[in-house]
């Protein structure tokens, strides 16, 4: 077992659910995110076996995240019924307060805006993906949660935004917080179907 230590994660899932009146229901609710977290860990472990170096694993995680993101956006729009965002600031708020909360049960804070307003940071006090995870020594270049970058990139591309997402800080690598840095590259023009010109 490459990554796991058996302990009880603190703050594994912050879930305020109105159905949790009974203790047994609460136990289930609290533990639902573990399936995803543990599955993700198994995936990263498998990728580390499949590929020789961390860079390649990072790339694969990003690619897989992208494939998930382009589908997840539809689910998100259906569930949340948020309208079109007016600007990048609104996009940032929706990502942090609605999307992250909905899928990962955490609300990162939005900070460190660039003067041009085209770049910001999402700060996560705790990253649900890394519950139960420790990086072994020989994986210094591994960006464990890189799937997230791909998901955000793919999802936003489907709403006509080209962005660059990367991890600026990572608790797994010893930083105090996990920080995602998101930069707006450009607006993607909607592609007209061939023959419509």
């Amino acid at each position: 077992m490459l990554f796991y230590h058996h302990g009880y994660a603190s703050g594994a899932c912050v879930c305020v659910c109105i159905c949790c009146v009974f203790k047994s229901c609460c136990r289930l609710c609290l533990q639902n995110s573990e399936l995803f977290t543990l599955t993700y860990g198994a995936l990263v472990t498998q990728l580390c076996k499949d590929y020789e170096n961390d860079e390649e694993v990072n790339k694969q995680l990003d690619k897989m995240g992208y494939n998930i993101g382009v589908r997840l956006i539809e689910d998100f729009l259906a569930r949340s019924s948020v309208g079109r965002c007016q600007d990048f600031r609104e996009t940032a708020d929706v990502i942090a307060k609605v999307a992250f909360k909905m899928y990962l049960g955490v609300t990162p804070s939005v900070t460190n805006w660039s003067p041009a307003g085209d770049e910001f940071s999402l700060i996560l006090e705790s990253n649900p993906l890394v519950d139960f995870v420790e990086l072994p020594d020989n994986h210094n270049a591994l960006i464990y949660s890189n799937l997230l970058c791909g998901v955000l990139r793919g999802a936003l591309e489907m709403v006509q935004m080209a962005v660059d997402v990367r991890f600026a800080q990572d608790t797994l690598r010893g930083d105090n917080v996990t920080e995602l840095r998101m930069k707006f590259i450009k607006r993607i023009e909607e592609n007209l179907p061939a023959g419509d010109e």
């Binding site: 796991y4 899932c13 995110s33 399936l35 995803f36 599955t39 998930i68 589908r71 997840l72 990962l104």
Partner: protein, 164 residues
């Protein structure tokens, strides 16, 4: 929290990735490729199943017998992992169990009917079989778990407890 959607998407992507990665260029038979995919996904599921059951049962009293454990799998485990209980459990009381789920969570997105019937069981359910086998393993039961689909989204998991 909609994290079950996240799991569904992750699972889909995982299966797709493993399948693409192990598509042999040497012209090996498709069934051999599939066997490799199945074994990888099943192995991943096995370890996750072990972890999940450990956390689920840490506060529970120990089980009376094998049937008690299988019922736990059908109710509590299935509810946490696949969001509903098993619809039907059959056993020959000699170590073989058939768990029937009429609306298996991971198949509902695929199709309602006969489409994908070829690919579905082996590769797509491999991870889930591993989850069950891993869970049972941590409960002290070694088993062989296979899945069979005759009509989506209903499927049957066959568990054969290995007597040591």
């Amino acid at each position: 929290m909609a994290d079950e959607v996240l799991f569904d998407f992750l699972h889909m992507e995982m299966v797709s990735h493993v399948y693409k990665e192990h598509k042999s260029s040497k012209g090996e038979s498709e069934s051999k490729e599939r066997a490799v995919c199945v074994s990888i996904l099943e192995g991943m599921g096995f370890r996750v199943g072990q972890g999940l059951i450990e956390r689920m049962t840490k506060d529970s009293p120990s089980f009376k017998d094998e049937l008690d454990m299988m019922k736990f799998i059908c109710k509590d485990f299935w509810t946490q992992v696949f969001r509903k209980q098993i619809d039907n459990l059959r056993t020959n009381h000699q170590g073989t169990y058939v768990l029937q789920d009429n609306k298996f969570a991971l198949l509902t997105q695929l199709s309602n009917g006969k489409q994908y019937l070829e690919e579905a069981p082996k590769v797509y359910l491999a991870y889930s079989c591993g989850l069950v086998r891993g869970a049972l393993s941590n409960l002290g039961l070694e088993s062989v778990v296979t899945a069979e689909v005759s009509l989506m989204p209903s499927c049957k998991f066959q568990v054969v407890i290995q007597k040591l």
